[in-house]
Symmetry: C2
Subunit: 195 residues, 2 copies
DNA sequence: ATTATTAATGAATAACAATTCAAAAATAAG
DNA sequence: CTTATTTTTGAATTGTTATTCATTAATAAT
């Protein structure tokens, strides 16, 4: 019996990240992904059901990772809710620093994937947001975070602000240095802009 | 000589807004748009260069309107920078209330259009953001807004937060009432979440 | 070495949907 | 009423690209 050599599935995923980041999901061609992955076009379909399945798997990996890491942050009893909150923001930025292409796919295609794969997609995404929510609740209980704000709204507020800023950073990295963005986000959310 | 009856261009634009809102730009079919507009598929091409041109015109209309209205807010000397800021947020929410479908297209397809039509698209969009920036600057000068925050970052921060929240409102309007979202956004940006 | 089993290939196919264009319809002018 | 001009139509075309599948290659088992 023959055994698969290498790891074509991984190769294809990585190639897809590169191609999706460059031209966007809709303009990305399977033929190009296969070329970058150094496999035949047909081989893509041995590992993925269809084009959308590739994107789905990419997102699943991201959100599973984010969820897992946020979970360990949350469970750390040595740091305050606000410190946890800061770590959460760092977590998202770390993806960018590690793999800018992955991050580009993350911010640019989230919309599309959420629309077309509603039921299945949401697992780790929802779990991640729920953890974020719990951290905020903890902060309210410990009297560190204002209780005037709706938690469900706050979680999307934060996520949306980050996502859009990262998108602009990707287009114009010089005008929007990542660390400056990160600092500003933390500041605004904590203190607001009123003097 | 024959004269065009009705206003087919407007009919097509409105039909497109409806169809794009329902199924998203990529899955929207010209045939469907034509059907909703009650014209033949071919007629679409008498008024628009291609499918993308329709989306482009929709966005142009939105941003021109936002820009025009923000301009008159900005030039009003009777209200404070913070009141102007509140009005700016109201402005964006008003689109939603007036025409939820238009708003859906606005938040869901902004990405796509910005990618593919870079040079031309940006006119009123940039102008709008620049006006917002000036309002913030005015607030800093009058010592009402903290100067610790980078203005360029702040403008996308606000826009991104609003965009994402509206997207979620669209999916689940009951859990995220528009007025509650609006209030929360204003609060967080002003005061932050620290107690 | 031979056979069996599974992996991989890539040219051919199939499906889809944007766009075109020859013909028809509507209106205006003479 | 006839002709000229412009608009509208929608079936046919075109282009694109995801996906399939018969064939080949690689490895393992005997």
């Amino acid at each position: 019996m023959r055994i698969k050599e290498g790891n074509k599935e991984k190769d294809i995923l990585e190639a897809a990240i590169k191609v999706f980041a460059e031209v966007g999901y809709h303009k990305a061609k399977i033929a190009k992904i296969a070329e970058v992955a150094e496999v035949a076009a047909g081989s893509v379909y041995l590992y993925f059901k269809d084009k959308e399945d590739i994107l789905l798997k990419i997102f699943e990996n991201i959100w599973r990772k984010l969820y897992t890491e946020l979970k360990s942050i949350k469970e750390n009893d040595d740091i305050s809710p606000f410190e946890k909150f800061d770590s959460m923001i760092d977590l998202i930025f770390d993806i960018y620093i590690e793999n800018p292409n992955l991050a580009l796919v993350f911010v640019n295609e989230q919309n599309h994937i959420q629309r077309s794969a509603e039921e299945y997609f949401t697992e780790y995404y929802e779990k991640f947001l729920n953890l974020g929510e719990e951290i905020i609740k903890e902060g309210i209980q410990k009297n560190q975070i204002s209780s005037s704000v709706d938690i469900k709204i706050l979680r999307y507020f934060i996520f949306g602000a980050i996502k859009t800023l990262l998108q602009h950073w990707a287009v114009d990295p010089k005008n929007y240095p990542l660390n400056k963005i990160r600092q500003n986000i933390k500041f605004i959310i904590k203190y607001g802009i009123e003097k």
